[in-house]
Symmetry: D2
Subunit: 260 residues, 4 copies
Amino acid sequence: MIRTIVWGENIHEHLNETVGRIYPDGMHTTIAEALRRDEAIAASTATLQEPEHGLPAHRLDETDVLIWWGHRDHGAVSDEVVEQIARRVYEGMGLIVLHSGHFCKPFKRLMGTPCALRWREAGERERIWTVNPGHPIASGIPDNFVLENEEMYGEFFSVPEPLETVFISWFAGGEVFRSGLTWRRGAGNIFYFRPGHETYPTFHDATVQKVIRNAVHWACNPQPAPIQCHEAPNVPVDSAPEPISERGPKLHQAGEAGYR
Amino acid sequence: MIRTIVWGENIHEHLNETVGRIYPDGMHTTIAEALRRDEAIAASTATLQEPEHGLPAHRLDETDVLIWWGHRDHGAVSDEVVEQIARRVYEGMGLIVLHSGHFCKPFKRLMGTPCALRWREAGERERIWTVNPGHPIASGIPDNFVLENEEMYGEFFSVPEPLETVFISWFAGGEVFRSGLTWRRGAGNIFYFRPGHETYPTFHDATVQKVIRNAVHWACNPQPAPIQCHEAPNVPVDSAPEPISERGPKLHQAGEAGYR
Amino acid sequence: MIRTIVWGENIHEHLNETVGRIYPDGMHTTIAEALRRDEAIAASTATLQEPEHGLPAHRLDETDVLIWWGHRDHGAVSDEVVEQIARRVYEGMGLIVLHSGHFCKPFKRLMGTPCALRWREAGERERIWTVNPGHPIASGIPDNFVLENEEMYGEFFSVPEPLETVFISWFAGGEVFRSGLTWRRGAGNIFYFRPGHETYPTFHDATVQKVIRNAVHWACNPQPAPIQCHEAPNVPVDSAPEPISERGPKLHQAGEAGYR
Amino acid sequence: MIRTIVWGENIHEHLNETVGRIYPDGMHTTIAEALRRDEAIAASTATLQEPEHGLPAHRLDETDVLIWWGHRDHGAVSDEVVEQIARRVYEGMGLIVLHSGHFCKPFKRLMGTPCALRWREAGERERIWTVNPGHPIASGIPDNFVLENEEMYGEFFSVPEPLETVFISWFAGGEVFRSGLTWRRGAGNIFYFRPGHETYPTFHDATVQKVIRNAVHWACNPQPAPIQCHEAPNVPVDSAPEPISERGPKLHQAGEAGYR
């Protein structure tokens, strides 16, 4: 079983009547139910309002893939939780960031870039094209599919050049957007997926749900143990893989830790 | 002229007799002099001890390429200056990070990863191989060259997969390291170059100097104006590139800024 | 001066009245004239009908960037010339492939993939978006520009994942296409640029011309000498960079060439 | 079950006494037996001497991953079989190329580059470092491992910049080599793995065997159906995803195939 957490900001569902009607139990619940249609996925949820936003370190340590949707209050996410998420991604936890999550703290932290874009909320038609049909995330997805009402996101999307581009969106209003992008950071697989404005029923769409299930499978890294990627260990001369003798001047004493 | 700043931490030159003897005017001065041997490069310096570490925003705004060497006191660099550097990189300022700078704040901020590695200070032989001989940074560099005494850095180097790998180091003690790596972040070109431990005369080496000069040319982005990459502008319906009509429910009022 | 050859198939200009009227001296001539507006570029032309298609090895050896437009008779290009082009690209000659050139022999040879796509000739609107505004090829290009009448090319474009994606096209008929893609092969920079159907005046468009001029500058690799990338030289034991002794059984005799 | 074929050239096992003693049933048999230790892998073999080299199209159509070892007689592989292999890779068959296979026809065909390197047969020590410990191919592989006697391969290895670099080799004689590299071509995953000179018992090494088993799992693409990547279908105006009207001059008649 792939252990997932669907994290929802869980604000607009309560403040906005339209959102509340489309997602009466919260967007995170709708997404988690969509994941459970795959017997290999165990889906739980967490929200901003819980202690540590429902993401204490011990829970993250037992999570294979974290899915993130946030929009109104990115700033309310604590920096400590962000660092724990980043640590777990380096160790191999997958991260799937949805729609307005492009501006969430964990994504900006891991990308190292502004993650900005242009946008328009006009309920216009979005047509999503598969530009990497052999990628596991595109498995079973048609060459293109339509979301009749979506918010527009347009380029330039200021993220690092991805490992691979999987989807590109066409908008009725004339823009395009790289809608499905992958990166690896440490042992962690990261996928950004564009659709999902809260005033439209996007997460009830069967194709959108299938993309997210595919992404969970792709993002899950079954490596048996966390990799060593945080520390900068000293390798003493007498432990060098090949025998060498120490030469020349030194800055550090034997066994000393490096500067950070 | 390519306007560069060579930033030096400027500590060990004063604390450690060996370092002070090799770099009596500071490592930053030696590197800047090496850059000035290229008539197309204008090299200035800045150090940790100056106000704003010598990097006020207005100076960064008139800088094409920033070169960074730091080691002992990465934590002393102010977060405000780090954010200004990151902003300028997105806008097109090149960044060249040398040796122990792998752990400096601006590099970790832009990579989004731990940037850790293993190390050994034994004055051992480093042999640097060119694995991308057509890359501009390798122009005029032989297929391999030797630094007789260097600190060892070994993999795993926890950075994002680079755009291109230019150099790989062989160490007498048995390790290897990806010693020349490139990334683009926004409009900014970033190059990490491994050699340069302060107790050895690495920055007096002619080949090392040539690599850094090549990297300055490569990193300089002559784009006439800063790109728009920080903000997420709204595109009103009546400004859409293709005519569309507004449909469906809305979250935002016309002209409202998005959430961050 | 960057020495360029604009290669034109030079067929439809003579067979099709529309094409002949738009490009009375051939498309290659129009493109070459556009390049000459940049004082740093020296532009010559070559066509399919010339001996060796105007591309004898000695001429390629003195060429920095080759620009290719072909459509009707890709198969007429000789395999010997294709191999000479590939050799020069590995050695550092830039290659810019335009529009229907996606199916030309040199491009398929260098990509190693089918380079297929879907298409429609309906004179529809193409809107080209810059998705990598800091890339040198996008220098001075607006965030998007329109070609009012173009042939549609749609994904999946079966090429290798590029080094960077620079432009993406939006079509009125609903498709998207990765319209500006870069690769490096050996020391050679390769750029594919989508627009340029022969029945429309695309190569008279000022923005299209600027993109091609930018691409010539980007593709030009000023490396002083061809890199060694074709041969697999034996390194005899007594020439090993580090001293070693020969051990164990051998297949090859000393000085023998490897198998190919 | 992942359906694999281990292809062996099967020449040196019969000509060279040393090779015959290490691999009495052929290298392909040793590798296939190593794969069968994983219950999820079904391993068969094929050799150069069989009709169509044991790789008729119908057999390739039922193969998930092809593993290739060849050295002495690359030229004897028929171009028709090479094209069938390339076709299947685009459609999703994985390809793992071992050691001297760097010069085999299918690999050069798919890379589009010379795939050259430097080499030395001196039985020297090779130390292979994991530089991407989170990659599935590195699962369970230590941070480095040693092959006491191997042929040296040195950079520059003239292949396209990989999707990811997984392993880098250190050689006692002073060279380095990117020993584990990945690419995707169409829907096909390709992995090059360096070790495996026939006069040494490399394919009896447990860690080498584990890397190859990991690579089989990684390379297998469980996409349900071959992707469309060979043809360039016309999309008639009345089948455009969004309604458009035909405009302007045309080159092609309705329903006509494009030029190739």
